[in-house]
Symmetry: C2
Subunit: 345 residues, 2 copies
């Protein structure tokens, strides 16, 4: 089959690799119908150590079950399914505690010998815990929105859930990438009536306004902080959903959060040390977040996608084929595309 | 009246100062009956910049109301009352959100022109929001336990509340000072059945065992982390209540917390930067805590103190008079006393 591998910074290739096969009785093999490129795929695109054998790419996909292992009971051949970006048994104590990304028998796609989703097919470990059947046809117009359940919508939702967002919560979202925009949508869906979106790209923040943002702040750093404080009577907001992952975004979050509030991070931090001293402690702030336990959320989000209450697939502003994946990376890297949908089949 | 002032490291004096008087209609003047020395008083005792005029000391006291301003309605002359270590109106939006230590019209005792509790009397701003009437006589044997409502018991409770402690929560408490021991008591009171106390002073950890700790780990650093992990099947505990405030304690907390768990800090951090990168994020950990909003908790804790369900006053292992306060600081500094009760009147 054809699959995407990354060999070094800027070096993405679609090549022939062996077809995936069942290895464990809990495995399934899924033929990929739609995949996409994630903002986090750009981190190795900038800085990976060149690797002669290439690294498989992609952790967001939906597709059709082609084969199932003997122990798989919840999906069967021919089912259209979406996978969470982490695979898990969804039954261990940590999964039951809602941290499926720390599953005792889990892992991540495109890592440690498990293939990536930017390919024609994927072996899915722990298929019962990882795949969710989608009650629509393979060519449905809903596919882009359904694909966001694999990561970006669920990740935005995780930010909002960990930010304890309710109708009484004022919210700042930092970052106008796909996750930031879907954090806006998720906060609105949970009832938030005041959502300030911090982002500089007008086409993106315009979509954020359609998703439910009430204010846009293009300024960053101290100026951006001052503007959010001005919009909130000097106080900042109860929740800050940090969807970037760089230290300046953390500093910005500290600056715009209200006393007693929550900084909820879903942007993978590209830094280690941050200020956790009196600035965080003195105002009883909470810092939370992490890789979204997507599998915890799919059942909750799916009905709203199916009935059109939300339309998260709007974050895809370009569609390319699998062979054009190098162009997809380039377009996202130079920000000419927000998020590229890959039509595999 | 007599009051305690600190002039520089190790230099604590009890001197004559003017009697406090009502300044605002919301003030009360309280004659102090019991006060005490806090672990946090030792920070300036080690490192304050020498100050010619002296800094008032003490933020924990109970006493008898001597005078009230015209607007005070909830306490009256002759009432025995306890004050929270921060004063607040307890009616503003931030107070109603449970962060009384960030009250819009509040502040802290022994700061910014407000006197300290290690004195014969204190002017209490926002008396209605700050003082709680105690339905016991002035000489009651309960006074030591009631005094802990001003800070240490409520602070230990805050650690447990922010740590989301319930009967299903495994808990590690870092620190065997008065706050750590009362965090053990508070976690037990909230139902925790497994409480690991990390501390090195046997007399103190023995009291921790009586307060409800199920295990004591004397080792620190990597060795201490390994021991807690060994006690918890390799996983660490759901909640870690960090009651020290130094960076090694934060590192220890990161090492012993279970995936998806909470690090709840009530030790005032004596550091700014800490690791908030993948170690915190990757396992969906939550970092929370801050100065305890004591006033939020007194009504909840008071009945259990009054009926003897809990006996937090046991953290006082020495009693001295007001004139002996310099000895109290020395005893706590050299760890010959856990916490010194000051019998003022």
């Amino acid at each position: 089959m054809r699959a995407t591998l990354m060999y070094g910074p800027g070096d993405v290739r679609v090549i022939d690799v062996p077809d995936p096969v069942l290895q464990q009785p809990t495995d399934a093999v899924v033929r990929v119908v739609r995949s996409c490129v994630c903002g986090s795929d750009l981190h190795p695109y900038h800085s990976m150590t060149p690797e002669g054998t290439g690294a498989p790419m992609g952790h967001e996909f939906l597709g059709v079950v082609e084969e199932i292992g003997a122990d798989v009971t919840t999906v069967t051949r021919g089912d259209l399914v979406v996978a969470s970006f982490a695979w898990q048994d969804n039954t261990c104590d940590l999964c039951r505690e809602g941290v499926q990304t720390s599953c005792r028998h889990g892992g991540f796609f495109a890592m440690n010998g498990i293939g990536g989703g930017q390919a024609e097919a994927v072996r899915v470990p722990q298929a019962d815990g990882t795949l969710v059947r989608l009650p629509v046809a393979e060519d449905a117009a809903l596919l882009p929105s359904l694909l966001t359940l694999a990561d970006v919508l669920a990740t935005g939702h995780h930010a909002a859930v960990r930010g304890r967002v309710t109708a009484r919560t004022t919210v700042t979202v930092i970052g106008d990438g796909a996750v930031g925009l879907l954090a806006v949508l998720a906060a609105r869906r949970l009832g938030a009536e005041r959502i300030i979106l911090m982002g500089r790209h007008k086409a993106r923040t315009d979509l954020g306004l359609e998703f439910g943002a009430t204010d846009v702040v293009a300024a960053r750093g101290e100026e951006g902080i001052a503007r959010v404080r001005e919009l909130t009577g000097g106080d900042g907001t109860h929740a800050v959903l940090e969807c970037v992952g760089h230290r300046p975004a953390y500093e910005q979050a500290l600056g715009v959060v209200r006393a007693g509030g929550v900084i909820s991070r879903v942007g993978v931090p590209q830094y280690a040390d941050g200020d956790v001293g009196w600035r965080l402690f003195g105002r009883n702030l909470t810092l939370t977040g992490g890789p979204a336990p997507v599998r915890n959320y799919i059942e909750e989000l799916l009905p709203d996608v199916l009935d059109g209450t939300i339309d998260p697939g709007r974050v895809f502003d370009r569609t390319l084929g699998l062979e054009e994946i190098p162009d997809a990376y380039r377009a996202m890297d130079d920000r000419s595309a927000l998020k590229v949908l890959i039509r595999v089949y």
